[in-house]
Subunit: 313 residues, 4 copies
């Protein structure tokens, strides 16, 4: 299970597909082990970067079961956001039955006012059940739903089972501080805050009081060390972070970002094939060459970073 005191690094895992767009079931266990070998504290599956909305319900369930089976007891969080509450109920119930540590939810883009957002979460909690631990995903750059710190506090206060914030507002540093200041003043209960947005501000987010990272950058080793070193040696942590930032920025591009990430993960051996399920963009030869160049520069500046890459497919 996850709780309000959960810390560390959760990897956002992609969903592996074959070139013809089928779910690549055989990769799921291996991919899970690959993440565990990089010492992540948990894995989040079926998020936006997991192409969750392109999966059939039975495929989603296969992903949940295979990853949990290979996770050796590490917590697995399952993204369950969907346009209908029925689908959210189904996937949440099946995931918890299968041994998930919790689920992750974010409202659709039509939710705009504070009251609409809080109302949607109330409906969602009714759908997944009041005892299912869940992560509030705050991701306006993709969902276009803007949640002020006050709205997050309202939601967290209303729902005991909300144990974690996946923070990926942009800009978002002041939001972390606002929540932590409220907690320090006794005006808000404890809450784990793990940061997303590809890790683009992870170095600074730790300084604002985040508990760690939950993101899919293709080098979880970097996330691990930055999170671990951030309190004791922030300059060292920043050196490691900065070495990866040029590549991380490239991976964090809207639209093409997941294609880049899967390409790198495939070259690193985490998944067999970099393919996205349709619709999804393809990598141009120029982009592939840019990735090669950025990877080489990461290796030069962070030599210990597991660079035995396979050839680009």
């Amino acid at each position: 299970m996850i709780g309000t005191d959960t810390k560390g690094v959760f990897a956002i895992a992609p969903t592996p597909f074959t070139e013809d767009g089928s779910l690549e079931v055989a990769s799921l266990g291996r991919m899970t082990e690959w993440y565990l070998d990089r010492e992540v504290d948990g894995i989040t599956i079926l998020g936006i970067m997991g192409e969750a909305q392109k999966l059939r319900p039975e495929e989603s369930l296969t992903v949940v079961r295979e990853v949990i089976a290979a996770a050796a007891g590490k917590p697995i969080i399952v993204g369950v956001s969907a346009p209908g509450m029925a689908a959210m109920h189904d996937l949440a119930a099946a995931s918890m039955d299968a041994g998930a540590a919790g689920v992750m939810m974010t409202p659709p883009g039509t939710m705009r006012t504070d009251d609409q957002i809080c109302g949607w979460f109330a409906n969602a909690v009714e759908a997944i059940g009041p005892d299912t631990p869940w992560v509030l995903q705050d991701h306006p750059t993709v969902t276009s739903v803007l949640m002020s710190p006050g709205v997050i506090r309202r939601v967290v206060t209303a729902h005991d089972a909300c144990v974690m914030l996946k923070h990926e507002d942009w800009p978002g540093l002041e939001k972390i501080s606002a929540l932590r200041d409220w907690q320090a003043a006794g005006d808000m209960r404890p809450l784990s805050i793990l940061c997303g947005n590809g890790g683009l501000f992870l170095d600074l987010e730790m300084g604002r009081g985040a508990d760690g990272a939950m993101t899919g950058y293709a080098f979880p080793e970097m996330l691990r060390r930055v999170v671990d070193l951030s309190a004791a040696d922030p300059e060292k942590a920043a050196d490691i972070f900065d070495a990866h930032l040029p590549l991380l920025r490239y991976e964090h591009q809207s639209g093409i970002g997941l294609t880049v990430r899967k390409q790198i993960l495939a070259r690193r051996g985490a998944i067999a094939t970099p393919a996205l399920r349709a619709p999804g963009p393809k990598l141009s030869p120029r982009a592939a060459a840019e990735i090669d160049r950025l990877l080489a520069r990461v290796e030069k500046r962070d030599p210990g970073c597991g660079m035995s890459l396979r050839k680009a497919s």
Copy 2:
């Protein structure tokens, strides 16, 4: 099958649910017969007003099969729009196997430029297969995808199996004229144009060259007579239309509109229960009273319009 010469009235049917949110299978056949009794030329199911995105895949298929079984050979069109091409393929294939006359598709809100829109339709046609007849739904007020007349022509020209436009741009009268002018000049191939948007401009759309209506206004009898009379007696058609416009306008409200429509359809006996599946708004007592008043005024101005209403639930 539907074709480029299809004319008349297609009803957009809702999906009936019980009060607890279950699919009300027993209503499906009766609802279909209710529409046929009102002499519609066909029915479109699983559109936005059919709460399609809240359905489980097996529920969607149940709706398709039950409606087709009760349709006595009248053409049934199935909305298949979905975030992933796999889901679109599955539902299109199963629907056509079950005897559907065609499918309806509209791109997601992230499609913005002309090239993105055309590219999305190319992907979608690949998913449903090049021989499946399909309806291009142009519905910017809900999808926020804006298609210029030129884009519609590009899509129609590229895909032979696109036989119909469900026109619900707003404002949209000039768009109908632009397409019809191109066709008159030999610059665009034939295409059926049926109009949606709740019927809000149906009186004028017929004058611009539309082939009929495809919308869910709870009095298909009105749509039927306006479409039938529009060429021979446009003043008579306008009188009938105007009698319904105050109610139609009320039913066409964003957000609450489907709740209003299902309430009226339940009172007319088309469906057993007006409930929406969660998440969906409820009708306030004040709104229910407004509907009563508007219904009474329709009856006064259009007495022949099938007004044996059940009591509001």
Copy 3:
């Protein structure tokens, strides 16, 4: 001055331009008298339908002065919304100096959360000064800023000089009821509510507790009678309203609506020329014919409605 007890009909006036796009100063006084002849209680200028954002600052001021000079003491409200607070300050100060009854403000589309909206109004009140009476314009279909009833209450409570709500949310009937219920329960202070959105729901808005209309429909005579009759004879009010609804709906189209409205106002003699300043759409011959037809039908159903029209230009 306007106050929380202001009732009746305020016309939203257009800004008249010549065919070459110059401000038509000579029309301003005549237009003002035209509205007064139709017994409006006040006039609102430089709103969205006044093409305010296309005016030079000195042109805005000319409009303010000419209209006030011709208004014979009737209250004139000036729209002052702008991207920068300096411009808002300038126009508000000059307008109040010139004898305006108050100003009207709405936030830009980037304001999303409740806190952002309330913060923007706090800045705006600082810019216009705490003693300037002002109208809160709630117009999400144009601004895309969604204000829940709770946000409106927060703004109204924070700013004593906010005396009126220009209500044009869509759908918006429940919002009026929510505010009126709070006032009835003593949970919110008095506030005038005048309704916009072209008048599309005016018949029902009065029943929900609105104080009147503030909109630009080209027949203020209809607004006048519907507002006056709504309490004493709602059926009669509805008959008058319904007679105009087909035309009103046509005038309320997004994008082209103001072009339609200015065409009718020019034909009625309110302004000399129907031209919009660039950029603005033109009326097609087909649309002009539709307006003719709709005008003829209004005249048939509401014969007393001032129909001595000039020929279309």
Copy 4:
């Protein structure tokens, strides 16, 4: 004048204000000289980062005249985008009269389809006159107007005086390549491409065929060297770029970014005061400390980079 062969670095300059929000006229000449001392090839003023939309027309003109007067003949480009064509005409005419090298324009967010965008530019060119050299600004992350490469080609082909693209789509690397490929194939005429987006992808944009940078990063020295070295020594250019990327990323945050940039520019002596005109966010003490830390790290990695900073105000 600027032309299709313009290359190098154009600084996007802020507009300096005093703490009370007045235009700080005295800073304008000094700021201009500060940029020239950093060997920029030109300066762009009154862009989005110049808070242009908050300025009064006469203030805009003051900025234009003061900067041109101090520019020693270097080309000055003036942003003239506005909601109305009258304002665009006025500022463009006055700027060219005052000696500007050209103007910059981008459509409002309501422009969506290819035809709408091309139509807007046609109107805009009519407003500024067909002989005024102009820069097409493609900035979807702020304007939400998406222009495909094909639309840019249409606009460029239709308007001879469009000599430059300010490229700040995101992601945008493939767009540069698409335009350059068309030019190489003879399918599009020459066009200068300078890149914005704070410089976030400048290292790679140069490799795709960009002619340089037009952006406001507070260290134009970095832009200068990266642009100059990118062809001859791309690894050296990337080393310099990477040294600044952590700070550049911080400055490129939405909403708060300009506040950060003005803070750094004030500390570097480019402007006297970091204040934004209202409405604009303030820097928190935590953010100020983060900037200090990032500045110190830039100095460590790029020691030659003009780091004699003033104390934070």
